[in-house]
Symmetry: C2
Subunit: 390 residues, 2 copies
């Protein structure tokens, strides 16, 4: 196990009706709020009205930034910073999923920086501080509610990049599984795929002696497999929604990665799909994951796939190693199919002639270095994986 | 899954050599330190000198409270509070295991209370604040390094009770597995038993829908089983010590219990053994655990034991339910034996004629109510379990 520093400062209020704490929580940190949200689903489920009433009842002034897109754009970040500066706002309340929360984190950090916030993404500037932020989660997926990372897209440069700082971790997050009851099936499925992909990125490493972390990862994967299917079929199954929601936070908040030598690869490949085509992040991940698994499977890595197959999919450990590995990969693909995810890049509208450009961008964004570390992948590898996934 | 509030504010510096952060960390919180420790093992391994040198190099004044006993006594708490008040101390540094840390937490809370600190334990007073506290862990067992609980004994009243408050959670804990290399085998074993018992207490509940939490618990149990044996046989195996140390923190910091309907029972029964005979807590737990399991096994609970046997001990799920359950219990007992733990109350010097008094004290300390909730246990049940464990 490698040395590490661990801190999860976010407080979680989990369960039905936890919004009751909202007023008191906000007042611990601020007096004037920027309320951020996405395309309006929070209005359809009545959550917008509930939040606004709580703010009013508590005498908390607020401004709004709605319409934040999936794969949130740097322009929304710029707009949020402008509203905050013009209105002396001192707290951000993000109501939505990972896109709304990520955008809000970038706004929180950008407030303290006089340059353009895109500078953080291209490492031209470092975050030093951020405004306090709270979240009300409406989709279980990115884990942004309990970590310090933001992923932001720039359509002009066709880049989707990430940055983070401890000050960007939410002060509190309200996780009420009932807010996810009305999610469309495809968003439920994409969220589950995203959680599983975070877990895979942390799990598939070589010989790092972080045994406990990998057992935790298997627990999250088993949770996604069991309850992903149930939530897909019974959208208002509280137990399923609750387990998936809590799994989403733990897949990426550090529990699975600290002490390990983790460098993500499938996310790096998917980010180009979203940057070029704005496709749903979780769908891109689900398409690439089994193909990536097949591509990297070899003698050095087969034992890790055996571990995965036996512990997560309950495959008989007495079978041949490669048979277990291939069965585990097949089961992974079958699971994603079973929750309705299209399993090829072609099906989500990506053009074959763009694969090379995307593979080039992927390694460029890694500074020309190979990506990942379970198995290092260069331009040719990424292109092969895109082609096999086509 | 039940509603819950989750917060783990403790920062962790994990790994070899992390003591390098000590000076800077203390200076974030205080200027004058009470250094607390136990029977002197920290002097034998050179840690005492290292800590003192760091304090001096950083110009941090300090006083000492050494000799804190296992099953720490309320008198040590009173003494610590006195030293702090007489010397204007504003930070406590606990160097040791759960006893030293628990005693230090009670001192930290007692400083702000004008009455006798035992009042907290008998619920005559509530904690409102505590001095900041940091820890350097030297044995993986109680998880006190990352939670808010203290267990304190009162030899006069023969009581061993617990209390806690968010302000008592350590600000930081330094977890360096190499400090546990020189632990005697029996302490290593008792520590592992303690971690497993915390996990069992959180794991064995009925139908609470907290699936994810139970998978995390199984990960901790598998870690203890795999690496407990290795650490017992190869005391300086870093990977084993690291996995056990990190497991100790997560078994009890809330990850396994929030969202579940948990009420501990084996700990309640063991506390009387320690209160009457001052035996090693982990040994008492290991003796009682398999007997308790056999005692509560019935038609309503057998499925939970099947879950345990299949997921933790890899027992064939196609066997008969009760066969799986009994095999799992046998394997639990065999594991404790394999790490040298005596498996009867007789062997640790407890007198048969005291069993009734201890069973009475156990239910008295629960306000006359039955203990636990996986299966409620009254006086006769507790006495039966003590007798079967004799």
């Amino acid at each position: 196990m490698k040395n590490f520093y661990y801190s999860i400062p976010t407080e979680i209020f989990f369960g039905k009706g936890q919004i009751k704490v909202l007023g008191d929580q906000i007042k611990k940190y601020g007096t004037k709020v920027l309320l951020t949200y996405g395309g309006g689903s929070i209005k359809r489920i009545g959550l917008y009205d509930e939040v606004v009433n709580i703010l009013k009842d508590n005498g908390i002034e607020f401004r709004e930034l709605g319409g934040i897109d999936p794969n949130p754009k740097i322009d929304s970040v710029r707009e949020g910073i402008k509203i905050i500066r013009e209105n002396d706002i001192d707290f951000i309340l993000a109501v939505g999923g990972g896109s709304v929360i990520d955008c809000s984190k970038a706004i929180a950090a950008g407030y303290y920086y006089q340059g353009d916030p895109w500078d953080f993404l291209i490492r031209k500037a470092n975050v030093e501080n951020a405004l306090p932020l709270g979240t009300i989660l409406t989709i279980a997926a990115t884990g942004s509610e309990m970590d310090r990372i933001a992923v932001i897209s720039n359509p002009e440069t066709r880049q989707k990049l990430s940055f983070g700082h401890i000050s960007m971790a939410p002060k509190f997050s309200i996780l009420d599984p009932t807010y996810t009851f009305s999610l469309p099936k495809n968003q439920t499925a994409a969220g589950v795929a995203d959680i599983m992909s975070h877990t895979f990125e942390n799990y598939f490493t070589l010989n790092d002696g972080a045994y406990l972390q990998d057992r935790f990862a298997e627990g999250i994967l088993k949770t996604c497999i069991k309850y992903g299917k149930i939530a897909f079929e019974e959208p208002d199954n509280y137990e399923a929604r609750a387990n998936i929601m809590w799994a989403s936070s733990w897949a990426i908040n550090g529990l699975l990665s600290y002490g390990k030598d983790v460098k993500w690869s499938v996310h790096a490949m998917e980010h180009e799909l979203s940057a070029f085509y704005d496709i749903t992040h979780g769908v891109g991940l689900a398409i690439l994951t089994p193909v990536w698994m097949e591509y990297v499977l070899d003698d050095e890595r087969v034992d890790k796939f055996v571990e995965y197959g036996v512990n997560v999919w309950d495959i008989d450990r007495n079978k041949d190693k490669y048979e277990i590995a291939r069965l585990a990969i097949d089961k992974t693909r079958d699971f994603f199919k079973s929750i309705g995810i299209p399993m090829s890049l072609r099906e989500v509208g990506i053009k074959e002639e763009d694969l090379e450009k995307m593979a080039k961008a992927c390694t460029d964004n890694s500074g020309g270095n190979k990506i990942g570390n379970f198995k290092l992948l260069g331009y040719e590898d990424v292109l092969s994986i895109y082609r096999k996934a086509y």
